[in-house]
């Protein structure tokens, strides 16, 4: 999975960077800019963003502030906080996924097309819903992991924590 994401994300980034360079080259050197290139670029760009974020959820590296964590001293406290955060996260991302589904249905129904090449925008738009579903699932997975760890942990030692 890690390798897949490495190739996917690097590939998408390089496609996007390469295409932008082509545009500079054709406009500045050849003076015949490629029409439609920038609308083509939207597809790998949006998939890059979504898959990057999915991978952040997979690696549990979404951006967060971790304010309370600094004050929690015990492993158990940390685990409890993680579980609470993940329960809240799932509630929110689940709700957002519902609206992502709404958007998915909309873009499927309206079947918009890009302005000059008439490529259906659905192929980029569908990324959001798919991404949100995957993000929800990975958040669920880390919730399960943390709940298990919490249960294991409470078997080993009870009490003795500072921030309950």
């Amino acid at each position: 999975m890690n390798t897949t994401f490495k190739y996917l994300l690097t590939g998408l980034l390089l496609i996007v960077a390469g295409a932008q360079c082509v545009q500079v080259f054709t406009r500045y050197i050849l003076e015949i800019p490629v029409m439609g290139l920038e609308e083509l670029l939207i597809y790998p760009t949006l998939w890059l963003y979504v898959l990057g974020s999915v991978n952040a959820s997979r690696e549990d590296s979404q951006i967060r502030a971790n304010v309370l964590e600094i004050f929690l001293k015990t492993k158990r406290g940390h685990l409890r906080l993680a579980v609470l955060g993940e329960v809240l996260s799932i509630g929110i991302v689940g709700w957002l996924t519902y609206w992502g589904w709404d958007f998915f249905k909309y873009t499927l129904r309206v079947w918009k097309e890009s302005p000059t090449l008439y490529i259906p925008t659905f192929y980029a738009d569908c990324a959001l819903f798919i991404g949100l579903v995957l993000m929800t699932l990975w958040t669920l997975a880390s919730l399960v992991k943390h709940v298990r760890a919490l249960l294991d942990h409470s078997d080993e030692e009870t009490g003795g924590e500072q921030n309950g």
Binding site: L8, V24, G52, I63, R64, L68, E69, W95
Partner: protein, 432 residues
């Protein structure tokens, strides 16, 4: 209306205190606006995702990737060695190398993380070897790394220009003055502070030795020194847009990293790509939900309500600027720089214009404050990364980092607000 907005902010802060990932914190704010504030989710995803496809935002992943490649390719190391030849034999000189190198890297990277990621692994151990306390070295590199957001190009200024319809090139230049001043203040502070450390200095060089060393290191650094010229020259010389310049930087860095500095291999490139892609994904999903929240506030007329509310309390320009700075400072403590701008720039710009602060000067005010947020706990991404790289505890870095912040940064924050030439001088000089 304002009540719902305040409640949304309250929920946002509670969620992020609990360690909920930032995108979902904004999602929580959005839920408050929908269930309490009467906003609608109809069309919100469609709108927000449409905004993400803006080619302007595409500069963010590309500048982030350029930075990641710099760190893993050896490009940054060459720059470091080049700066080092000038000052390393002065007492405290190595600290100046840290600050100035971060500024030069800032002229290539648009992110505040590149400096510490690229030179931290090399310079922090080196500084320790020469007698600087490790925590101090880490704090200095991390604080200097912020310059990546102040020396153009800068992703925060791209986002500010984009959400407020202000010239991005003018915004780039607006933070240049404050950035250079901070670089100077950090250098001076460091030279003074370094007197207290038992430093080991390299043996002084004779002039011919210096000449020889300089020319050798210049040759090695040349391909790296060309990068800022290509990027900034390309943008300001009318060859390419900022987004295209970011792409060119990436494509240029590839052969340079693979063949000249040889730090880059297929596996480090893939690692850099994944790292940059993941960082960008995490930023973009956050931008998506902060945009939706911000748009809901706009649709509820919150910016005007805010102006009315605040003008009901005071219309004093000085007081308002101080309040805005405090607000931005506190926001910078808890939220990421880009999302802070997306959330508050549309809210505060009408207020700023009402007290005759131009959008370009406000770019500098908000840019300096949110950049500083990268090192102010609790959410201090740059400082945390520095601590990880420097292998010191965050709690140890905080003290020297805050002292540097107070001596080098806070004065500039105030000057940016109250001395408009500092931010408007460069834009004016270049005709923006």
């Amino acid at each position: 209306m304002v009540e719902a907005a305040l409640l949304a902010f309250g929920v946002l802060v509670v969620l992020l205190t609990l360690g909920v990932p930032l995108p979902y914190c904004f999602g929580g704010g959005v839920m408050v606006m929908v269930f309490v504030g009467g906003a609608t989710m109809k069309g919100a995803m469609l709108w927000g995702f449409g905004q993400l496809s803006s080619p302007v935002l595409l500069a963010i992943p590309l500048f982030v990737l350029a930075g990641t490649i710099m760190s893993s390719s050896g490009i940054a190391g060459a720059l470091l060695k080049f700066v080092d030849v000038f000052v390393s034999r002065i007492k405290g000189g190595l600290g100046v190398v840290a600050t100035v190198s971060c500024a030069i890297i800032g002229a290539i990277s648009g992110s505040g993380l590149t400096g510490v990621a690229a030179i931290g692994p090399i310079l922090i151990p080196e500084m320790e070897k020469k007698g600087y306390p490790r925590a101090y070295a880490t704090a200095l590199v991390a604080n200097s790394s912020i310059l990546g957001l102040l020396i153009p190009p800068s992703v925060t200024m791209i986002v500010y220009g984009w959400v407020t319809d202000t010239s991005i090139l003018a915004c780039f230049l607006a933070t240049l003055g404050p950035g250079l001043l901070i670089m100077t203040l950090f250098s001076i502070t460091n030279l003074a502070w370094a007197r207290r450390f038992p430093l080991v200095l390299d043996a002084p060089m004779t002039f011919p030795e210096f000449g020889k060393e300089l020319s050798r290191r210049s040759v090695v650094a040349f391909p790296a020194l060309v990068m800022p010229v290509v990027i900034l020259g390309g943008i300001y010389g009318g060859i390419m847009t900022p987004t295209e310049a970011a792409a060119v930087a990436v494509i240029y860095a590839l052969p340079v990293g693979f063949m000249i500095y040889r730090g880059l291999t297929l596996s480090t490139l893939l690692e850099a790509g994944k790292e940059a892609g993941t960082a960008v994904g995490a930023i973009m999903i956050m931008i998506l939900f902060s945009l939706i929240l911000s748009q809901m506030l706009v649709l509820q007329n919150a910016p005007q309500a805010l102006v009315d509310l605040i003008f009901g309390i005071t219309t004093d320009r000085t007081l308002l600027l101080i309040l805005v700075n405090i607000l931005l400072f506190m926001l910078g403590m808890v939220v990421n720089d880009i999302t802070a701008i997306i959330l508050v720039a549309p809210l505060l710009l009408p207020l700023m214009q009402a007290i005759d602060v131009s959008p370009v000067q406000f770019a500098a005010i908000i840019g300096v404050n949110t950049a500083m947020g990268g090192v102010t706990p609790p959410y201090a991404s740059i400082l945390y990364l520095g601590a990880r790289i420097g292998k010191v505890k965050v709690t140890q870095v905080v003290r020297p980092a805050m002292i540097l912040l107070i001596l080098g940064y806070v004065p500039v924050v105030f000057l940016t607000s109250f001395w408009s030439d500092l931010s408007l001088g460069f834009p004016r000089f270049f005709g923006y």
